[in-house]
């Protein structure tokens, strides 16, 4: 049990770093998933639109953000945006720093949040779209027969039903986003993984990575628990099929 005691020792030496990293991970995951969810709903509806002027751009968005690595997206957003703004100001840094956008562009957290939100929004839109599509046709017809307008049909029937169907898949997307927060070291931020990396280069002891395992397990357990509660709450009307 040598391993365990040396792990505990490492955890003891570096716990403030780990806790700060954990907080960054939690904040980013929660905020980007909430905002991403808000983005995903209109995106899913746009993808289902019969008007290609609406569904086309939504498809392009979805392919770009789901098709390229998040690492590249974070890089282009964090390092690309300010250089675009600087070009706009003709290379005049002091003038650029006065601009309205600067406080946003100078905040790594905000830009990371934007990148993660755009990305997770694109991913979450897929199960929501699938959920809406799998609403039984009978329900759709019944709603129309009751005289609901397409808009009311979407609001009262398709979205609530579709979202409920999508809950398990959304839980997966949330876990994926949580795991992807390891990328924020690219923008000078320290998440859980970054904290371990820092401890690693201080001790050169690769066991610090094992210390992370319980941290991530707790996070995943928490996410799974939250979604289980959501599912229980919103899908309670469903009769469980007995096998």
């Amino acid at each position: 049990m040598d391993l365990i005691s040396s792990l505990l020792e490492l955890a003891q030496d570096y716990w403030p770093q780990f806790l700060r990293g954990l907080w960054t991970t939690v904040q980013l995951t929660v905020l980007s998933c909430l905002l991403g969810f808000c983005l995903a709903i209109p995106l899913a509806l746009a993808r289902l639109s019969k008007n290609w002027l609406i569904s086309g751009p939504a498809l392009v968005y979805s392919v770009c953000f789901r098709g390229s690595p998040l690492l590249v997206q974070v890089f282009l957003i964090y390092y690309g945006l300010p250089s675009v703004l600087l070009q706009f100001y003709g290379g005049d840094v002091p003038a650029m720093r006065e601009s309205f956008f600067w406080p946003l562009l100078n905040a790594p957290f905000m830009l990371a949040l934007i990148a993660f939100t755009l990305n997770t929004g694109a991913y979450m839109a897929e199960p929501i779209r699938g959920g809406i599509q799998s609403v039984p046709n009978g329900e759709r017809e019944a709603a129309l027969a009751c005289g609901m307008s397409p808009r009311l049909l979407t609001r009262r029937v398709l979205l609530p039903r579709g979202l409920r169907i999508a809950i398990p898949a959304l839980s997966n997307e949330t876990i994926l986003t949580m795991k992807a927060t390891t990328l924020v070291s690219l923008v000078t931020m320290l998440d859980l993984m970054g904290a371990a990396g820092r401890a690693f280069t201080q001790t050169y002891d690769s066991k610090v990575y094992l210390v992370l395992v319980p941290f991530y397990l707790v996070l995943i357990w928490a996410i799974a628990r939250i979604f289980a509660l959501l599912e229980k709450r919103y899908n309670r009307y469903l009769v469980r099929k007995t096998v």
């Binding site: 391993l3 365990i4 390092y79 300010p82 250089s83 600087l86 840094v93 650029m96 720093r97 562009l105 100078n106 070291s185 690219l186 000078t188 990396g197 820092r198 690693f200 280069t201 050169y204 690769s206």
Partner: protein
Amino acid sequence: MKKIVLALATLGIALTSGAYAQNAKTLRLGTEGAYPPFNFTDKNGKLQGFDIEIGDALCAEMKRKCDWVTQDWDGIIPALKAKKFDAIIASMSINEKRKKEVDFSDRYYFTPGMMVARKGSGYKQSDLKGKAVGVQLETTHSQFMEARYKDVNLKQYKTQEEANLDLANGRLDLVMADSAVIDDWIKANGGSAKFERVGDFVRDPILGNGAGIAVRKGDKDLVAAFNKALTAIKANGTYTKINNKYFDFDIR
């Protein structure tokens, strides 16, 4: 835990198609391969740079066959310890902290540190309070800034490249880095028309005493062999030839 370790081990053994025992005669040299002009990979995928040529010259002098291995900077000391290679020639500064982990040869070059800002900013080294300063994570330069300038807004980047980008972008007020490295980048990005040095070159014990070749602790024969070869190439003019190919100043 035991079960996991066991499972991982079994899998590792099952998958070591690429694993092979090391040839005892070949010396394996580790480098980063992304730190121009000292070590970098050119467009033909070949390793180039000052470190590489010095390493090759040393091997020729020692009459040993050498293979280069590239490895991310973060993991370069652990990889040495895990015997992925036998020596690191990657512009690693010799300092006390690292001496606890590895043994060093004599220094094979020395370049001071340098602070760089955008042209016309007029900063002084004595007054950097509140300035946004960028350094590369886990370098002697980041250790220097942490110890000597506690009142700056220090930002640590994974690579020097990213810190430089943020200097150009206007996010950073200045960057603290190795003078030869930052010089190389400035030349490619508008030169002295856009950037200026802040104060003098920086020399400090934290920045170490130049770059050395790192080997595993206790590998005394190898250190001795490197040192002997280093003296030889400095004496026979090989070193000067390589120096002049990359720099217009002496970095010995």
